[in-house]
Symmetry: C4
Amino acid sequence: MESTATFFTAVIYGMEKPAPPPGLTWKKKAYSVIFEADTPAGRNFDIGLLWAIVLSVLVVMLESVRSINAQYGPYLRIVEWIFTSLFLLEYLARLVVVRRPLTYAFSLLGIIDFLAIAPTLVSLVLSGSQYLIVIRTLRLLRVFRIFKLGRFVGEGEFIVRALKASRFKILVFLTAVLTLVIVIGTLMYVVEGGKNGFTSIPKSIYWAIVTLTTVGYGDISPVTVLGQTLASVLMILGYAIIAVPTGIVSAQMATPSTPSPSYKQVICHVCQATEHRPEAEFCWRCGEKL
Amino acid sequence: MESTATFFTAVIYGMEKPAPPPGLTWKKKAYSVIFEADTPAGRNFDIGLLWAIVLSVLVVMLESVRSINAQYGPYLRIVEWIFTSLFLLEYLARLVVVRRPLTYAFSLLGIIDFLAIAPTLVSLVLSGSQYLIVIRTLRLLRVFRIFKLGRFVGEGEFIVRALKASRFKILVFLTAVLTLVIVIGTLMYVVEGGKNGFTSIPKSIYWAIVTLTTVGYGDISPVTVLGQTLASVLMILGYAIIAVPTGIVSAQMATPSTPSPSYKQVICHVCQATEHRPEAEFCWRCGEKL
Amino acid sequence: MESTATFFTAVIYGMEKPAPPPGLTWKKKAYSVIFEADTPAGRNFDIGLLWAIVLSVLVVMLESVRSINAQYGPYLRIVEWIFTSLFLLEYLARLVVVRRPLTYAFSLLGIIDFLAIAPTLVSLVLSGSQYLIVIRTLRLLRVFRIFKLGRFVGEGEFIVRALKASRFKILVFLTAVLTLVIVIGTLMYVVEGGKNGFTSIPKSIYWAIVTLTTVGYGDISPVTVLGQTLASVLMILGYAIIAVPTGIVSAQMATPSTPSPSYKQVICHVCQATEHRPEAEFCWRCGEKL
Amino acid sequence: MESTATFFTAVIYGMEKPAPPPGLTWKKKAYSVIFEADTPAGRNFDIGLLWAIVLSVLVVMLESVRSINAQYGPYLRIVEWIFTSLFLLEYLARLVVVRRPLTYAFSLLGIIDFLAIAPTLVSLVLSGSQYLIVIRTLRLLRVFRIFKLGRFVGEGEFIVRALKASRFKILVFLTAVLTLVIVIGTLMYVVEGGKNGFTSIPKSIYWAIVTLTTVGYGDISPVTVLGQTLASVLMILGYAIIAVPTGIVSAQMATPSTPSPSYKQVICHVCQATEHRPEAEFCWRCGEKL
């Protein structure tokens, strides 16, 4: 959960553009097209890039479907190489255009941009790795920047802030859940006697997680009376315990909206009254000009 | 989610009656029966219509059950045609009676009314399409209007308002969830090696959705140790992440009741400013004594 | 949901003792033992009754387990008849002891007390009905009264009040969910072509409920690509939509604690200031005695 | 739920160190190493202990995996005995070092410390019991103390306080849920006629729990039309009812942060009254100017 919050923060705050090159050269112009979305050219570049990402991810997905691969495999692989070449060119262009290429290369954006092309290149050597290309989807998060949706960023920040503020509470909660799952998983292994799918403690813990989170695949399920009783307890616990993270986040999200921002932090020099309306020009208590 | 909110809004706000015909003709009378529910006749018409909708939907459902269809099929089809004829007559009556037939025909209500009869007509040509008749259930939402349950509409509006106010937050959340599901689905495809049901990336993404949402059919479930570990992480994430939409909506629903009561409902007689602090004795905008 | 709220309210408010008999006779004494829990005798009677209920429910459960029934069946049936006789005696005693027997017989408590013995009696004639005896568990709700746990009753009332206050919102929500489930269920029937378990529209609707509520048995699960896509949409909807009832109840439960009871509803006769602390004896603005 | 709250409270509050031995002897020094984490030695001891716990739990888990056990079984058992010896030594050292050994032995920490070594010793006599060693994971909760994460303890206390404050509400809720599950489980047994997995009432109740909590294994699922209808009702109930514990905990967590800020933090110099209204100029109790 914490890593999720960190990830989001990184995505939203960390997606800051690297510093532009100095001077008014062609580099500066290219920079504004590639990194910014204020000009029509920059906007079009970003929208085109987004479509390229979506399409290339779709190609990789289709390639994995056996029937489609059997028929259109070679074509799909060609399309994929075209996309990878485009992304490679784009990556190199970004490196060339920024002021400090290394800073960009090791920034979050730079690493994602690199990972988006690496798998295809590696697949020349190591078969199978090309599927990791789906890391490209992470690039889709750029969408929030392209449309300059300040609104979305604000909302994203709201979620991230709430998650960050409650990350210690959630960590405590997860530690308790993990301990619970390990203890009950082991008990089930002993109770079901290593049969009915509970063939080892790790597998029983896996079952306990499947049950506590109310996923319930049914690939492993208790058969003995004692096992089913224990499972019932775990299920009801899981059902009730979900109230904890939900309550934490709800409470967190409900509080930030109430504090004093609805009042202006100005003190009247006559009567010292505070908490004026944000637009107030006169003191509400003595009528003095603020 | 946004489309759900839009849909609800459309249903509740958009269910406004089309304009009545001018003059005090028979049309006006028919209009009041068909479109309004204030008079006993209009009320009875609407309740009758509601029952017809419920019964016709039931008939279509029963028709799809093989054993019932084998025995009562012909009768059910006759009943269905009777209902469709009735709805067709009603639809035509609505078109005749309103001031601007085209406006009605392309309003939300008009389109639903049309779709409720179209499938049966189309089924003359294209077999199978008659099941789409269940779109008729959408007409059941009229129930809120018939009983003039201002209370229900108010409550519906409350839910819609909360969903609308949080739609950007929910959209950001869904984008993050979708990205997560695509990335983990692909990883699982690689990890399970295209076996154990993870036969393609789209199928693995389907599995990831089944797991993250805690549905857990069990038609596909990981078998390898690494796969089960990854699945456990996804499950716990799904279990914890549900706190986010819940928190968003809870916080949204908890706030609207607090805001304005913190202001005094007095209008300044000089500058017409409202929303003064509860204890204010002077106008915050012009300094006039309230 | 509404019926649940009504049920709870009935249980908690409606569990009022029927009127005691007039005069200071032996009836009055018996009444205090059977209906009240203030005296040691009344308390012991109630605790004994509670244990009898728990044990008799356990006996019925055990009887239904084939292996136990084969071995101990006759004994269990004897025990059950003993319990039923006891409950019959208790029921008759209650009828004799109250002021108006008919009022008690048709009160909620009286009906539950009757239903708790009826199945065993009926089972003499109609085999199988004896399992309905489990209605006896409803009598367990008496526990809240026995221990005079005013605290528990208060908490129960809190939950009931929150559910009652939000019952219209929840009804609107359930109507929307039901419509959604019917429409998507039918679509799935058409999409999966009546195969893979989707053999009829009612069955498909059953599947849609299993999926939307994130239960996910897996007895029916989509196989076609289009079906799995539709299922994914339904799952994500179900995952996000759960925020609505949760938000409604959370908001409802969070509000009652805040309203103005923290201020005294008195107006100062000198400066007209309101919103004094509950214990205030002097006006906070002008210092005048209230 | 209550027991969970109690457990947490015990863990966090009850993890107080037993009293140190009197005097400035070697015992006092050993005590500070073993029980405290302020000195570098104490900190290292605790971190080492933590790693030993994690490793020993992992060893027990691996031992339960058949393929690993077949190959490395003897080595794993040796490692386990080494860890158990270490923990035994540690336990004895703790007993020796504290002022009152018996108080420690019967404190929560002492019992957990004992249970962490008992299973291996017992396994000499009773095979199979060694798996209970996983109780050792409970010792992992020490982690919160080692890093002196006052923050974590505070957050843990926050969760515990919210759970404690709502424990009566949750108990009422669980009683209602249990009654519901027993009644519906029995009904299903009657409806499905003891077939399709509903072979006894306890098994049907197990199914009802699996369904209501939205786990849904699918090992038992209704087949008859009436059974599926009843199941649908139960599922929707379970889906809606989860709003209750969530709402309880959310409301509880949201309230503690709001109360007192509505009062002015000034103490009346005459009557010592606190908690005045934010704008108060005069004491609400004695009318003195503040």
